[in-house]
Symmetry: D3
Subunit: 158 residues, 6 copies
Amino acid sequence: MNAHFSHRDEHIDDNMIKMEVNLDDMSPEWLGFLLDKLLAKGANDVFYIPIYMKKNRPGVLLQLLCSSEKLNEIKSIIFSETTTLGIRYSPIHVHRLERRFRKIETPWGPVTLKEGLHNGAIVQAAPEYDDCKRLAEKANIPLKHVFQFVWKEIPNYS
Amino acid sequence: MNAHFSHRDEHIDDNMIKMEVNLDDMSPEWLGFLLDKLLAKGANDVFYIPIYMKKNRPGVLLQLLCSSEKLNEIKSIIFSETTTLGIRYSPIHVHRLERRFRKIETPWGPVTLKEGLHNGAIVQAAPEYDDCKRLAEKANIPLKHVFQFVWKEIPNYS
Amino acid sequence: MNAHFSHRDEHIDDNMIKMEVNLDDMSPEWLGFLLDKLLAKGANDVFYIPIYMKKNRPGVLLQLLCSSEKLNEIKSIIFSETTTLGIRYSPIHVHRLERRFRKIETPWGPVTLKEGLHNGAIVQAAPEYDDCKRLAEKANIPLKHVFQFVWKEIPNYS
Amino acid sequence: MNAHFSHRDEHIDDNMIKMEVNLDDMSPEWLGFLLDKLLAKGANDVFYIPIYMKKNRPGVLLQLLCSSEKLNEIKSIIFSETTTLGIRYSPIHVHRLERRFRKIETPWGPVTLKEGLHNGAIVQAAPEYDDCKRLAEKANIPLKHVFQFVWKEIPNYS
Amino acid sequence: MNAHFSHRDEHIDDNMIKMEVNLDDMSPEWLGFLLDKLLAKGANDVFYIPIYMKKNRPGVLLQLLCSSEKLNEIKSIIFSETTTLGIRYSPIHVHRLERRFRKIETPWGPVTLKEGLHNGAIVQAAPEYDDCKRLAEKANIPLKHVFQFVWKEIPNYS
Amino acid sequence: MNAHFSHRDEHIDDNMIKMEVNLDDMSPEWLGFLLDKLLAKGANDVFYIPIYMKKNRPGVLLQLLCSSEKLNEIKSIIFSETTTLGIRYSPIHVHRLERRFRKIETPWGPVTLKEGLHNGAIVQAAPEYDDCKRLAEKANIPLKHVFQFVWKEIPNYS
């Protein structure tokens, strides 16, 4: 194995905040914009859940994680970009695997394989999406061809 | 059985239109308003589906039924009350059961039981929600107490 | 600006409880009733999430907020009105903006504009839905006409 | 009443953990498998929520409860069976009703009725699904016939 | 390639019916039962969509396909097992690929690989879920180990 | 009004096809890629719906529109990029409004306002999202500031 970059050791992060905001009077156009902005500003795991709110409103729940150091910055972005008058949050633990990255050669160019280790053993191995996307677009082939090629390089577990 | 009002015979309606509209830039507040307005104007089975649209937009699909005679009126309401530039529609068949209504006495007042008949046999029997709601609120008891009382009056099928 | 009622200052409420209940054997009719009842009894942010449960059940997750003083009362309503045998809950922080209300005159009558302030600056400004709804129904015009009229009264941020 | 098995007293369990995992690169086939496996291994209330993730991904949020003693075992199953590199969790309180079970005779065989008690009063009473399913399949009748028969045995609350 | 069973040629089926039913007063327990029963009776592609219905009801839309010969039989099942008073349907075209099946040997036993052909070329290749599930359970290994082993046997497209 | 480009007259397009595909064994990563590819190839209104499928699978329904001339090309993309063995489709009518575009000057640059006309009257008027996004990012201001500025330029309806 030619691991060329060791990301971080497996660890439990006790310094994270889970944030939640209900949105019932805001255009989905703005929500798409907000998701990318929050990720760019350092929030993690930003996503929306469709929810059923009062007065027959098909609303949306924004959820995200951020480190406690970023709490106030992320709050300000949410108040600026959304229509909400309130933000809910609470501390949360995050168990993160050790991550390793290695290159796989394909007929269309190299792809990074991301591996996750739990107690020192590889439990995850997945091609990086952005690499596969770039190669598929450049070679004008289906995305699944690139993924399926890389899958053959995942070592057997048995 | 004391049926006191026979609604309509079982039939297949070949004169209905199914309408669909994607909405990705409209407040859920307006959607709640629209749902009630469309029902008041004679549309049937008006509802929303949460959908995943381009540019990370958590949008909504409006779907409804209307008779072909009401097609243009319903279209005009949708163009007036939503932000859409397009409405999709196609004909659809609707098989409707024969409906019968009868009164059930409860300790809190009478409730209508709605029955549905398929090929002459009762296959559906359900208390009318609005009746049960009114009694539960008036008597200040849980809604399920009213429903569960009425359920005892549904005849056994065996 | 003619603010005529200052609601409350911006604050962080550390006395709130987030409650969650899974429901997999209960009619959506009862769920609609429950949502309004919980709001009437003082719960905040009551809503449903569609969830995928065991045995192919398209269930629903009820979520709400309440102050810790109301914990037992809200629990009793949930046990009375739903079919659940268990309720989950945990404390949560809520950051709420300062709120101000002012009147906007429109051709169809007055509408309240609700403003939200973060660190003393206006970051939110939205017409009150119930006012707009009442005027639209009375004047028999699209709801969006009322909103769009009021939007012109929101001061520019630049 | 012929209660023949008293499950447990009403109590608040302060020893539970709520776990959450975002999944954006995993087949729904595997998710179906995982749900059953987690339940078999002692997790409670395992379910999925549809979520909107970055890059237009219609992902899924896995949520479950487990006792703190099972935390590490459940984590290992999730890392083994999913593609995730991180698991989020936090403590949660669970208020559980007292449960009682009794047999109801029906024309197709016996069905267990599960009752839930809050402060000593019966607030829940529901037929066990697995019993009803078995009888409906054996007798080749609609499932609702079995439920509706058992409902008549639920005592009135008034 | 050792194809040992040729399923059917690629074709367009113009004899199919798409059926839709809104359900707003029915327990998710019954819905889980219904899904399996409809599949057992010959319906195809049976599934549920979460929908927002009037009066704040988090309802469900049942959708399925069936051949026009089975129309009346499937209708009767739906009227018997659900609470609905109406069923909507319309004709639909279905383009189906040619299917081939072949066996892949794994360390835990054989797995069927299902291939799909479009204009004579293999465009789909996927392990049969039920095979992988059985082997994973028997060998007490993660399901993904079985899938990932079989994936290596999918021929390259380049 | 300085309309400088008249898009197309209001019309009903009877040449469109609605396509639907169920996906229960495909990574959400691939689905995000597919959505953009289908739009780039000329499909309209491409979106996903979360659905509940057999064996507890939280699947996804792909839906899109295309002109009948593009039917075969779009089918081929779907077979190449997804894992499906079948595609469903049926004809659909689309009523499209007349569209007009005009420029609005803002403190941060020009924004296109898109208007929709029904029977010759303006019923829709909305800022183009991509313009607003570009200006908000360049000026480093909230997206809603740009929208709210443009909203003031929408003419009153009364």
